[in-house]
Symmetry: C2
Subunit: 300 residues, 2 copies
Amino acid sequence: MSLLVVGSVAFDTIETPFGKAERVLGGSATFFMFAASYFTPQRLVGVVGHDFPPEVLRELEERGVDLRGLKVDADGKTFHWTGRYEGDMNAAQTLGVSLNVLGSWKATVPEEFRDSEFVFLANDHPQTQLDVLASVRGNPLSVADTRDFWIAEEPALLAELLHRVDGLVLNEHEARLLTGEHNLVRAGAGILKRGPEFVVVKKGEHGALLFCGEGTFAVPACPLEEVRDPTGAGDAFAGGLMGYLASTGKRSLEAIRRGITYGTVTASVAVEDFSVEPFRRTSRQALNDRHDAFLKAIRF
Amino acid sequence: MSLLVVGSVAFDTIETPFGKAERVLGGSATFFMFAASYFTPQRLVGVVGHDFPPEVLRELEERGVDLRGLKVDADGKTFHWTGRYEGDMNAAQTLGVSLNVLGSWKATVPEEFRDSEFVFLANDHPQTQLDVLASVRGNPLSVADTRDFWIAEEPALLAELLHRVDGLVLNEHEARLLTGEHNLVRAGAGILKRGPEFVVVKKGEHGALLFCGEGTFAVPACPLEEVRDPTGAGDAFAGGLMGYLASTGKRSLEAIRRGITYGTVTASVAVEDFSVEPFRRTSRQALNDRHDAFLKAIRF
């Protein structure tokens, strides 16, 4: 079924204890798309500048991404994020943000994407997320991400968004900030009461918690020997989850739980190296093998 | 089958963000025994002072603990630990240690316990752990705990212990310290190479990792709404694991994995309130129900 993603396509400059990458491919939608492309075709709404490599656009098309919602802005440069990870690499320190073309862009869903049945709203201003959602017809399965900045600055709009989306994915820090609850089980239950049918609290190397009407579920992360760059892990998680759901057309708890194991595995691919390189070298077969191994590792 | 535990029986004075408990029942063997008593009779080797309440000894006997290896030292007081948890409660800050009778005591396994088929060596000087192990006949399934102090101060004896035990349980901090590896998958694999057949790295609220010849396995902790005092969680985990194994007589990977889910559940009981109170109010039936709920929560 049709999967729409609205988010950033960017350049990242990243430093971790394991190396440095300059102006490599990044962005929330990018990591989402590389992860979801193992499962299903996609539709992208986003913006890049005149400096964006045409060969990456071709690569996305080859991975099944419909780019009719991507604006290539000839008047500006692509969004560029610079960050650093230290110590246990659980949180990025932002060193610089050049919004560039993202600063003046307004997300617009083209007519031909408005029948999308699965929608992922990557982290963005909640008003933008609401506008996108309003422009999609029917009753899509919609999942949003958010971040600390919007929780602090736009609580009313975020509250409205929570009533409109089916699912919310966010990290443990954000879940605590949103609810004022340190305990994650209380925090997740608290978010659930604000509207969404399900909430996924991502805990990085410690896995994720799923909250829904049927209860609370806990899944570990893939045990990994090497984590070189955690950038994009959360979006790759969402990509695996949504890509799997869209490929099946299902929105049952059972499907969401299976989607979460795929999301865990696509996130584990993302962190192995800088940018989207690990996706380029991981075939669908290798991903399936990794998923099988993961299911074995968590079968207790 | 017979299960021997060698460890401390103590008084704890504890402060957490949720309250304070003065001179309550604690100790590594105590938490282990309360957890294991859901599954199997036990044999204790330990020491208490003249101030230890006889009614607790009766309670332990009622829970199936054979106390013929417990010395009641009329010349001294029971070991007393004072500690505090702050913030995320992942690590205790020791405020005071009064070894008392523990200071002059030497663990001795009575003749009638030397045929034990399952042995748990709670955190102690590795020479003591080695001596205890040497005094048990046959080929018991032996599992040891240790701590940062012994890793730093007695590396040679600890290395010998690792060659003698079947299993090691330790927390993530200790696993990193023991191997010099920050990545826990590498740390666990590194410990495995030093002798034990299996290693369990405990991550507190984030669950545990199991390393063995067959691979690496990851289990989340029980999602809990309330954690009032984490003291004893690790020993309660070991108690659930070893109690289950001894009750079945099995030592297969399958049994160890099932034991780890029981250990996760007994640890979740331990942290709900101060001292052993949560065990006193949790029936075997309630524990089974909680175990069933946990298996549902981690079935992905």
